[in-house]
Amino acid sequence: MVRAGAISKGMVLLMKDEPYVVTEREFVNPGKGSAFVRLKLKSLRSGQVLRETLKSNESAEEADVYDKDGQFLYADEAGYHFMDAENYEQYVIEREGLEEKGSYMKEGDTYRIMMWENRPIDIVLPLKMTFTVVEAEEAIKGDTVTGANKVVTIETGRQVKVPLFIKPGDKVLVNTETGEYVERVNS
């Protein structure tokens, strides 16, 4: 059990007997009344969104989840195919609700897979990942506006907004939560 006041973003709670990940958490302390925690949660099974308001001294049940390493093999219509890094068993995670994460995954790389009741239910990406730029338009000459951006394609096919000086072949660090460019990585 976890006290509502200690719930943080990313925590997995058991609600209606299903694991929900906390996607938003806001503390509300009206001062003239008891403190509450306003949560937005997403079902790890159906992707369904749930809103809950708990008093900060109430308890919630944490879902018994754990991570293990899985090597990403390929994606197809069935979903994302992984191989367990320990026992080499292959399994598929359905695409539904995970397309955003899928757009950052590179074939052959290993990721943390969240398991619940021996089933893979989520893919945990590092907050920041490095990618090679495969396609980029030339910067327009004379465009010296500070903060100007252009769109490039990274090796997974995803598009990212970057500063004008980025060229094909450059490595860039990208925030996988916001999709935003962080910095150029010197290789």
Binding site: E26, V28, N29, G31, G33, A35, R38
Partner: protein
Amino acid sequence: MDYETALLRSRVMRELRSFLTEAGYLEVDTPALSPDLIPENHLDVFRTRFEPPTADSQELYLIPSPEVYLKRLLAEGYGNIFQIARCYRNGEAVGRLHNPEFAMLEWYSLGADYRASLDTALELLQYLSKQVAPTVEVMRREPLTLTVEEAFRRHLGFSLAEALERNRLRPALLEAGLNPRRFESTEELVNFAMVDRIEPSLPNDRAVVLLDYPKQIPTLAREIPGTPWCERWELYLGGVELANCYTEETDPLKVAQFFASQEQAKRARKAEHTVDRRYPELFQGAFPACSGAALGVDRLVLAFSEKQSLDEVIYFPFSATV
């Protein structure tokens, strides 16, 4: 905090002072340390000890708001006053909208009721935004003012007044699709409904004022005779609670009752602190009819800077230390 925001913050402070001073309010700066506080059940305080070499040590508290001192000044006849105070609240989670130490503007207007204070607050916001943040979106639209009763009708589909009168708030919330679990007291149920449904439904593209709160939420706001309401408003800016105001209760008996109920509640959850037994006596003499309002300055800077988190608008936010 980036330099541009620091500049905005400095201008907000300066213009707050300028507006209120021009309007005839005296700026005061009362202590942050106090040997006693007004008991308010839902506020937890920071305790410390004064240890003088020649006398017994004494427990002191960091003020959760300057009210305890400002009301003494009102009783002494200081007239219209304001303070921009550092305030301290313990036991609250640190987050996007909370820091254990924060800046609060508190002002008292003599002969005014809560509606007059609302006019002042809205003028103050208009003035400030014109001076320091003329392009900020949330100040461009007319504020929306509605009573708590109207908010319940609009966002929950039932009359709070009727539900209170017929003592069926809990079933009404269930019918409206809320899950009030184990909440039982009217105070808890109303607060839960506000947090769970009403606040998230309020428009966040403008200032929103909620007026007339139920008497069952204990405060020092004056009751409106013949109604279930108190003369109190709260103001939201960008969906964030920014200010709170009452027509102040000046009946010494009612003040004493409030103190007793809050002290008892604090004792029950072992969060007591020293209370000045003679404090309610302030209201027996020439305590003036007045209205008091408090406004979170950090949250105001947050709204004007259009940033996401208090971390970006205060110096050395506490979250950076944990």
